[in-house]
Symmetry: C2
């Protein structure tokens, strides 16, 4: 058994449950009168609305965001994972990275052009696309710059949302790009595609044709409803597992090319600067990673006793195979329960029951994916790659718990 | 091959794709100049917001609702499935059935009491519940009165939303009721639970203890975020596969009993009146069912050619095993593709490519579940059960397509 109170899930749900959990619930009276009749039980509630909203009591369950000075919409907004559970990120809380704000696109005027090295250049209206065969998949999207703060020398005094909030997961539905490319007829010389957005920044990225033909989608729906404006309405490119920047929002154009186009978004940015001054370019998949979302900074623990350690794990290379949790800074590890369904290139929720004894603790999680890759320590990642970049940080993160129940970002 | 243009999915994605699809896309110029530079490409877009909203262009993607005269919040709102795709219903569009509106519950004051035939009556605050081990599952909820209009003699001139919109599917996360019952200590005599809501109607239902111990959840999260007020904030009972009415929202009390309590919501309502004047009571699971969502009434087909027939199938008894589609009113059937992951007691999206030749067509879908149960015809269901009830209508529904491309609700 791993140290510092990590519990076996089966034991917890068996005969020992009452004892293990006894300190959380309060004794109740044996009759209903033990509960007061609250004011909201005495008057009719509020009426129906066409499109619902969260409880006003949950106003903290919101994105935080920051824009580049002098702009209003160039920057990021981040998902409050410390206040969420499950695998789906609701659409109102999906993270955003915009390079020139959210364009106000009229869907009737919007077109998708497929051209370049094709036999038949084609233009698609939204109405035309709605007639094609569709597919759905639950997929995470992570900004290549997520968790960049962990490249810094000292641990930022921040929590899950500001550090790791450039990650979300939704069910995306759309048309396989392969279907549209087959219709256009790909010339044998074509090896790449250029994907371009209809925002004012002209966001564009080169994508290998192999990925385009594999599992790329022209996504029209996000968690069931039309894709949100902030996520590319009326359509975005979905490249499951690849860095978020490539999954071009407000997609207007796909050009088939022999070679990558070396756009500003894949040269001046989204390359990994190494210690020797050279850069790694075209690092597409997001490597296996995990983060504990509860407990985490901002969620104080009021008393010793039972808690659930819960978090998210994901890999751009496929399914999460294992998540291990440590409560002693990495000296011992225990396997967490993985919430089914475990899906390729989606987040997987992991859970581990834990009895906190009130002492100092360092909590960590470590993901492995189905390729056998194991999430590295921070020291290992920085030794291999250096710390001059802000991209693709996927090493183990650590939360320290103090005896008074405060949770802090630490390096361990 | 089934009649009237139902296509094999493999064939479509193979070499014949271009020919099959050629009529939908428009020829594009070979260069980017074939697309105009739209106004939204010339100015910075809009800034970040804490909680995002749908596109203003998609204001039709909304619930329709009706209240009992003289009330504001007693009635139903319905999910616009004809405008959605995928399996997840976004939280703003989840159907609702309220018996006295949406209570404005202060989560800090709310309590959950477990009492009756238990060794230790317990009272839980929301903060206490947040420390327990959780589980997530994607589950449909369907009102027992969904599709009741199909018991009528003549087909209602309506579409998917008003007829079948009392169905939604979300990822729910919460605590197994079994965990809390183990802590309270169930007395051997207990065979049922009474679940009661904190709304002004005092909604309450009796649930067999077996179900409570099996897969019942105290759901705190809906699609990742805290459960919406309209879906039971701060907590609801989730009984996967059972009729929606039993999955008590705003849950405040669970009482363990020897027998069902015969509440108003399981005697005067939610019983199935048969032709002989007696009623079936305690019909818990929603039987296997399917409905085509696209094409459907309100979605006109502008020209012959390729379309995707898409819809939802579900069963309260487990996984959907098969969905067949007919384009000739049930004379011939072809198996549809089922979108993975196919999950027990969740909706499954089915898809079937179809070439419409411009003639008159009657479209139907027929679901089978893993128990071997096959969705019945309307004639069969009414022959067996009569048509004096409004509950548990799960028979095959039919959409007629006219040569001008209009889609109408028909009986066939």
């Amino acid at each position: 058994m791993a140290g510092n109170g990590l519990l076996n899930r089966r034991m917890l749900l068996g005969a020992g449950a009452a004892a293990a959990l006894g300190s959380i619930a309060s004794p109740g009276g044996a009759r209903a009168e033990a509960l007061p009749v609250e004011p909201w039980m005495k008057i009719p509630g509020s009426p129906f609305v066409p499109y619902g909203q969260p409880s006003p009591y949950e106003s903290k369950v919101a994105r935080i965001f920051a824009s580049v000075p002098g702009t209003t919409g160039t920057g990021t907004s981040r998902t409050p994972h410390h206040l969420l559970d499950g695998m789906i990120t609701p659409n109102g809380l999906h993270f955003e990275r915009h390079h020139s704000g959210i364009p106000d696109i009229n869907p009737q005027a919007h077109r998708l052009l497929i051209h370049g090295l094709v036999k038949r250049p084609l233009v698609f209206t939204l109405d035309a696309l709605l007639r094609y065969p569709m597919e759905s998949r639950i997929a995470f999207i992570e900004c290549a710059g997520n968790s960049a703060l962990l490249y810094q020398k000292e641990p930022a005094a921040l929590g899950v949302q500001p550090i790791h909030g450039l990650l979300s997961c939704a069910e995306w539905t759309g048309i396989r790009l392969a279907t549209l490319l087959a219709e256009a007829g790909v010339e044998p010389r074509a090896q790449w595609i250029l994907a371009e957005g209809a925002d004012a920044s002209g966001m564009s990225r080169s994508v290998p044709l192999g990925k385009a033909m594999d599992d790329a989608l022209i996504a029209l729906y996000q968690n069931g409803e039309p894709v949100r404006p902030s996520n590319g309405y009326p359509m975005r490119l979905l490249l499951p597992g690849y860095e978020g920047n490539m999954q071009v929002k407000w997609l207007r154009r796909i050009k088939l090319t022999e070679a990558p186009m070396m756009t500003k978004d894949e040269t001046s940015k989204y390359t990994i600067l190494q210690n020797d001054g050279t850069s790694l370019q075209f690092c597409f998949p997001q490597e296996a990673k995990s983060v504990i979302t509860r407990p985490s900074p901002g969620l104080a623990m009021k008393a010793p006793g039972l808690y659930e350690i819960s978090g998210l794990a994901w890999s751009g290379y496929g399914k999460v195979a294992k998540v291990e949790v440590s409560a002693d800074g990495g000296r011992s590890w225990a396997p967490a329960a993985l919430q089914e369904p475990v899906l390729s290139k989606a987040v997987t929720r992991f859970r581990m029951p834990w009895r906190w004894d009130g002492g100092e603790v360092v909590l960590q999680s470590r993901a492995s994916d189905e390729t056998g890759y194991v999430q590295p320590t921070r020291a290992r990642l920085i030794a291999d790659r250096g710390a001059r970049t802000i991209y693709h940080f996927n090493a183990i993160a650590s939360w320290g718990v103090t005896p008074n129940g405060e949770v802090k970002h630490v390096y361990a």
